[in-house]
């Protein structure tokens, strides 16, 4: 049977690379982003939406379920960051970061879990960041939004355990995508120096952890946060 995966934030960066990877493996992939789709493939469906808009999320998940019949995996990949001292951070920035990162993760998890519950199978992977574990200065809001995701991950792992749904989170180190383009080089270098293994993360590093979390054999692995690069809380 073809496996079905929903990945949020697939127009570029990590999400796009993952979508292309699972398509190569023969999966059916549904993705979304606010801007236009960038992937063309017979087994790919794109939804132009904002992950924090309840109605659009509900509609997308129902459409995917209808067309593909099931949803095996959800990757809550869509995310935005902002580097700023908290004293000079506007309320609007905080709202938009929490809306995309936390509300988006909440809405997709809720809607997709409903489908997974009936299948009595599901794998959800959420995204945090090493910045949350490291309490990195200058990333207070971004890290707080990811901290919320970590706690949420661990609690819903319990609430969903009776249905054979696991929920875990990956915490990447810096990976060279648009997300970190605006961050000054010396800040990145300082961050890399805090890691046990001091290099950028790659798409391969992320796939490796996600493949482990979503493996059918990982049915005893839930509520876990894995940071790359040897970072820990």
């Amino acid at each position: 049977m073809d496996r079905v995966i929903i990945i949020t934030g697939t127009s570029k960066g990590i999400g796009r690379d993952l979508a292309e990877y699972y398509l190569r493996l023969g999966w059916r992939v549904a993705g979304c982003s606010r801007k236009e789709q960038t992937i063309e493939h017979d087994n790919y469906r794109h939804f132009e939406l904002d992950v924090s808009e309840e109605r659009s999320v509900v509609k997308m998940v129902r459409a995917v379920k209808k067309e593909f019949g099931r949803i095996d995996v959800l990757l809550n990949n869509a995310g935005i960051a902002s580097m700023n001292h908290f004293l000079t951070t506007s309320l609007g920035t905080v709202e938009s970061i929490f809306n995309t990162n936390f509300l988006g993760t909440f809405l997709f998890s809720r809607e997709v879990s409903k489908v997974m519950m009936r299948q009595k199978f599901g794998r959800v992977v959420n995204y945090t960041t090493v910045a949350a574990a490291l309490r990195l200065e200058g990333e207070a809001i971004y890290a707080a939004s990811k901290g919320a995701i970590e706690n949420f991950t661990q609690t819903i792992a319990k609430e969903l355990a009776p249905y054979n749904i696991t929920v875990n989170a990956i915490g990447p180190t810096p990976v060279e995508t648009d997300l970190i383009k605006a961050v000054p080089k010396e800040k990145i270098v300082a961050l890399l120096e805090k890691q046990a293994i001091q290099r950028f993360g790659t798409f391969e590093d992320i796939k490796n952890v996600i493949d482990f979390f979503i493996d059918a054999k990982s049915d005893f692995i839930t509520g876990q946060v894995i940071y790359l690069g040897g970072v820990h809380n």
Binding site: R62, M117, R118, P162
Partner: protein, 96 residues
């Protein structure tokens, strides 16, 4: 509309009861207590029930609704306490 909603609720309850085999759900009516107090559903059964119901109502009325409410877990005011309160609640969502 009320009747149609009620019929969907009862159908979903009957289907759910094939698994639950609860006496109270053999013949559900408007008055059947669902959740809280001496309701027929525990919290695990409630979430399965709600998700099935959402899909059926959304298909029947061609409108995507979400059955989530801050009072969901309250015994006195939860819309999920009986077939009747749930019917009224769904009707309100559909009319929004």
């Amino acid at each position: 509309m009320q009747e149609k909603i009620e019929k969907i609720i009862i159908d979903v309850l009957l289907e759910l009861n094939e698994e639950l085999e609860s006496n109270e759900l053999q013949n559900p009516t408007q008055e059947t207590k669902l959740y809280g107090g001496n309701g027929a559903l525990d919290s695990l059964a409630l979430v399965s029930f709600i998700t099935d119901l959402e899909e059926r109502v959304s298909d029947a009325f061609d409108k995507d609704i979400v059955l989530a409410d801050e009072k969901a877990m309250s015994q006195r005011t939860s819309p999920f306490r009986s077939v009747k309160s749930l019917t009224i609640y769904i009707q309100k969502l559909l009319e929004e």
